[in-house]
Symmetry: C2
Subunit: 290 residues, 2 copies
DNA sequence: CCAATTACCTGACTATAGTCAGGCATATGA
DNA sequence: TCATATGCCTGACTATAGTCAGGTAATTGG
């Protein structure tokens, strides 16, 4: 706790100030950050707004300023929706971006410079660890309607992954269907994990009357795997099942999903005989909730 | 390198923004930071200016604003100089500070909250390591006149430490004296190590004609020991000796300064017969500069 | 004792950050 | 096809951050 506070205070303040200083060479910081965030690949205005957490009006103004300087081009995006606009860097803008990129390198060098080789290695390791764990801690887990676009995108990714990993692919039409309505309270719940707005995982709980509570659609994006997100979702689903008065939960899974199976076993699930005829399932698990 | 950049970008930005948000509850950020920095113990205005890196005018204005809100009292300090003013928190100010302190705790809790116990421990370890090494990397090493107040404070600390650690104490009058003038180019150099303005170490080099270059007054503050500062000072002194055309450096030391002796040996120094009659010395070392 | 310096304060600025209501064009769903 | 929602833009703001040229009182060094 004290460590976290010291860290926040010194690192954030000092490195943050340095970073800002390096980034804004003459240009206002807001503009520099925006220019940097657009990047050589360009970006949609909405995405920029989300990433930088800016007011739509303010962002628009910043874009106009960069446009006036001839660094950025904002025009209708490549997507179908003509309202969505895309910001791209002009040739000058790309040059400017490259300068920022070099500044960023210089800053990193100036931090590593005074350290011995051994210290540099230790710093890199520790920084990577901090970043990884802070990422994990910033993942937000909240109920969401299963029809929400971000939930949908998780479910698509889930189906895509199953079709890659199952021996004979995955056809949703063959699998036992789950009705969206069954994942809305009080008949169930759908949890969505997001990292600064981006969907990175999900899990669902069916709480139908007269049958045991069942866990469905547990999925974690590859970008955040290994951070304990799956376990967090799972235990939150269990908590909600217990809260609803259930004394056990069960689930089925495919033999190829080895990490998931490992997660279930280490979370206290025990294998039980098949309780349904899901064609893609090889294992059925159950856990008593205390 | 890439790790440092990623770290700067994500951690600094995200945690920094969070930190600011928690800190400034209604109040402008500048004021909140200042209030926090004054702390229950109070602080001199000059110290605040240095720590926060603010313009004198701006700081003054912030203090007036806090004074107008009845949170801070600025009056002549306890020191002798009546120009130096000291800011202290009023009762209300202390209450406000306590709130900030709690917010800071809440932020730390909100970061640790979503993590498992194991992850929390790993995060704390990694954060401490990052902070330690960043501190090391922010230590600035530069020549300074030996009469500078910060240099003086280092030399006082050096003498104090010797008197604690030598078997029979340390009396500067008994030791071979070093004239300040001999530590000013071209007759020598005095290096001062500072961490955001605060003196944390020193070292000197005598470059008198006709005798080998000699290292004197190598000292590192306890607060930054173990960060390789001593080694940095030592090798910078060697570099300057070589630059001045010398092909070796030598030094004397007391048997109780075991870390120093270890540093000299591991830096390539070899013990040589006594080359002076310094009463406090037990070991004499020399190193050839390549 | 006087000139120079130091520590802080004040007034008068400019620039950047951020907000809000309203507007236009496009898309969507009944 | 028409009401409604969405994505972005604009104008008109306010607040905060930051700078700079003096100014005053205390201190220091000759």
């Amino acid at each position: 706790m004290a460590t976290v506070r010291r860290f926040n205070r010194t690192v954030t303040q000092r490195v943050g100030a340095l970073d800002d200083e390096y980034l804004s060479r003459g240009r206002p910081l807001g503009q520099a950050r925006l220019l940097w965030e657009i990047g050589p690949a360009g970006a949609e205005v909405a995405a920029l707004r989300a990433r930088l957490g800016l007011d739509a009006g303010y962002l628009s103004r910043l874009l106009r300023a960069l446009e006036a300087d001839g660094l950025v081009d904002v025009c209708a995006g490549t997507g179908g929706d003509a309202r969505v606009r895309e910001a791209t860097l002009t040739t000058e803008g790309r040059a400017e971006w490259a300068v920022l990129d070099r500044e960023s390198d210089d800053l990193a060098r100036s931090i590593l410079g005074p350290l011995s080789t051994g210290q540099q290695g230790r710093l890199a390791t520790a920084m990577a660890e901090v970043e990884r764990l802070l990422m994990a801690s910033m993942i937000d887990l909240a109920p969401s309607p299963p029809g929400d676009p971000r939930a949908r995108s998780c479910l698509r990714a889930y189906a895509r992954e199953l079709s890659q990993r199952f021996d004979a692919g995955f056809d949703p039409a063959v699998s036992k269907p789950v009705d969206d309505d069954d994942l809305v309270p009080p008949k169930g719940v759908f949890l969505l994990a997001t990292l600064s707005g981006e969907p990175v995982g999900c899990g669902a709980l069916k709480l139908l009357p007269d049958v045991p509570a069942e866990i469905k659609r547990l999925w974690v994006s590859g970008t955040v795997r290994g951070l304990g997100v799956g376990r967090r979702i799972l235990s939150e689903l269990e908590r909600r099942a217990a809260e609803a008065g259930r004394d056990s939960v069960r689930l089925d899974t495919n033999r190829n999903l080895v990490e998931a199976i490992r997660l279930y076993r280490s979370s206290g699930y025990t294998e039980v005989p098949a309780y349904n005829d899901e064609p893609y399932a090889h294992h059925w698990f159950s856990k008593r909730l205390t």
